[in-house]
Amino acid sequence: MPSSESINSKSHEDFLRLFTASESTLRAYIRRLVPSQNDASEISQNTTIVLWQKFGVFVKKHPNYNSADQTKEDIQLHFKRWAMVVARYEVLSWRRDKFRDRHVFSEDLIKKLATDSQENGSTLENQLLALESCLEKIPAERRSLVLEAYSARNKPQEIAKRQGGTLNGFYQWLHRIRLTLLKCVKQTLEAQARS
């Protein structure tokens, strides 16, 4: 629940509107910094709660955020930046709990990746948009298998077994799909830049 810093029902609606507009970008930002989908989900949930609790602080810093003087794009950009700062702290906080785990980057490296991620935010966001059309270009059966593999409910071992292959072979196949998507994204963005 929000702190006393001022949330009313109108603010609730405003928060939802701003958060929805930033949600996918924010989730991707977090996912780029941590090793697994589960970790990213956990951090995303915590981040959302903190954003809601602290929305009053954001409103205080941007008292005219709902006025005609502020364009919708401006306020969304402010909110997104603020949300990323919060997410960065949440990732670092999560990292402190997990530092003994294998495969968790050092605090220094997470900070570097977070900074790179924010500095290249526009490009990475455009890539997310281009990925939408690139995914559509993958033949339906393969696309369906990829989405099945990425669903949190499914176990890759079972999918690999059903497909008659090895787990490692299945991971390599997913890797090739990711590379294909990346290539398609680059071509799409280059074509957009030329047009």
């Binding site: 929805t20 697994s36 495969h103 948009l129 390599q172």
Partner: protein, 462 residues
């Protein structure tokens, strides 16, 4: 990025990376800013796919409306007639030409084992095969004067042929189409199935596609899902890779060019496919390039709630809102499926030329101020419709989901009257000055004007 670095990314994303490799990846990322960018881009695809998978699951879970399954391969005639997409899409299809393409080894046509899944109003050439549903046939040549036959051929390939058409099987994986139209769904085991024409070969890479050879020996190829390779002209540069929503026209010299539009099936039509129905207008745009071979999908009389909005994005459909039913004025108009990706193109210009007096509707995203080209040439009908459900993508960034978590975009319907043979140019969807105002691509529909009233009353008087 080296192969070794790519492999480290792969193992990390799969959570299969060894301790030693993780340390190596860590060191490389700390030292190399460029590699960090490549890593972030790679992980971006993971983030996107996880989101897409999650959304896909939710869509399945929450879907309350029955929607044709575009991947369904139910071979029954009932299914065929209920969802003529599969069959008629062939309408969209095809073609072939006579030319210089080298067809490879000229094998003697051989018989293959087929099973007749469906036949509809078939009239076969004198002395040719009779098609009885359920019967197993040894076939090498097929000649249909009219009607539709659906065959299951080895490897689970579903093969529709629409009369008038003529061709023969070279073997289980190659069919020579001499004239007419075929539609092929190769299924999971039939990858590599090839349609051979006089000057082109269309190799299926796991997909549904159609091929049509007309009387001038020109060929048209359209892909409905997946991808195919089209070889024509005999040179390596004449290889085209087509994906869903793309099509080419191959002329008799083997030269291929973009197929601008095709007639799509009407999913609500449970009657016989009207494969030969001609279009009442022509459409073209200024975006043809080596990379853009997409076709506009035209559904004659197909505008209604539930109709597919774009040639891709199968889940996104036109519909009325809870406050406003689907407007009668636009129901039954010819629907033109556009490309959602064109929404960001500032140069977009679509020309529409009508053959008869018509009302042209442009269905435009209503979230931001309409562009000048729309306000100057069209009248606001005051009616609105929705498209959706959309994934939680950028286009719907400023829309709140409904109670089921689905996103819908509201469009306003604009219209203008066109005289016979008039051409009108439609402009861009995006607002060049406010590029962050993300709009969905607009829709188009066209309805012939009713005949002008004559003095028939006098004629009817005794």
């Amino acid at each position: 990025m080296t192969r070794d670095e790519e492999q480290l990314f792969c193992d990390y994303a799969a959570e299969q990376i060894s301790e030693a490799d993780f340390r190596r990846l860590h060191t490389l990322l700390e030292r190399d800013p460029q590699l960090r960018i490549a890593f972030l881009e790679y992980m971006n695809t993971c983030a996107f796919l996880e989101d897409a998978a999650s959304y896909s699951e939710e869509l399945l879970h929450h879907s309350t409306e029955s929607e044709p399954d575009s991947n369904s391969r139910d071979p029954s005639l009932a299914k065929l007639l209920k969802f003529p997409t599969w069959a008629i899409a062939a309408a969209a299809a095809v073609v072939l030409a006579v030319g210089t393409w080298t067809l490879g080894p000229s094998a003697q046509p051989d018989s293959i084992t087929t099973r007749v899944i469906a036949s509809h109003n078939v009239s076969a050439a004198p002395g040719s095969q009779v098609f009885t549903v359920g019967e197993e046939l040894q076939l090498h040549a097929i000649a249909l004067e009219s009607g539709l036959v659906r065959l299951e051929i080895p490897r689970g390939v579903m093969f529709d042929i629409f009369g008038p058409a003529k061709g023969y099987f070279e073997n289980e994986t190659r069919f020579h189409l001499e004239s007419g139209r075929v539609n092929v769904d190769v299924g999971p085991r039939g990858k590599g199935f090839t349609i051979v024409t006089a000057n082109a070969e269309i190799v299926d890479l796991g997909t549904r596609f159609g091929v049509d050879v007309d009387q001038n020996a020109d060929a048209k190829v359209a892909v409905f899902s997946g991808e195919v390779e089209v070889h024509s002209g005999g040179g390596p540069s004449d290889l085209r890779l087509l994906t869903e929503g793309e099509g080419v026209h191959v002329d008799s010299g083997g030269k291929s060019s973009r197929l601008m539009s095709i007639i799509m099936p009407d999913e609500a039509d449970t009657g016989q496919p009207q494969l030969n129905q001609s279009s009442r207008f022509e459409i073209r745009d200024n975006l043809t390039s080596q990379d853009n071979l997409r076709y506009y999908g035209i559904i004659n009389g197909g505008m209604r709630a539930g109709a597919k909005v774009y040639t891709t994005h199968p889940s996104v459909r036109w519909r009325g809102s809870s406050q406003e039913p689907f407007p009668d004025e636009i129901v039954g108009a010819d629907l033109i499926q556009t490309f959602n990706n064109d929404r960001n193109n500032e140069r977009l210009s679509i020309d529409i030329s009508v053959h008869t007096d018509s009302t042209l509707f442009v269905i435009f995203d209503d979230r931001y101020a309409p562009p000048a080209w729309l306000q100057d040439n069209f009248i606001d009908t005051g009616k609105t419709v929705l498209s959706g459900p959309w994934k939680p993508v950028a286009i719907v960034h400023d829309i709140l989901p409904d109670s089921q978590g689905n996103f819908y975009v509201t469009y306003r319907i604009w219209k203008t009257q066109l005289d016979a043979h008039q051409t009108i140019a439609l402009g861009e969807s995006i607002d060049p000055e406010f590029r962050d105002n993300l709009r969905a691509m607009y829709g188009i529909a066209l309805k012939p004007s009713p005949p002008a009233e004559t003095e028939s009353i006098a004629i009817l008087q005794p």
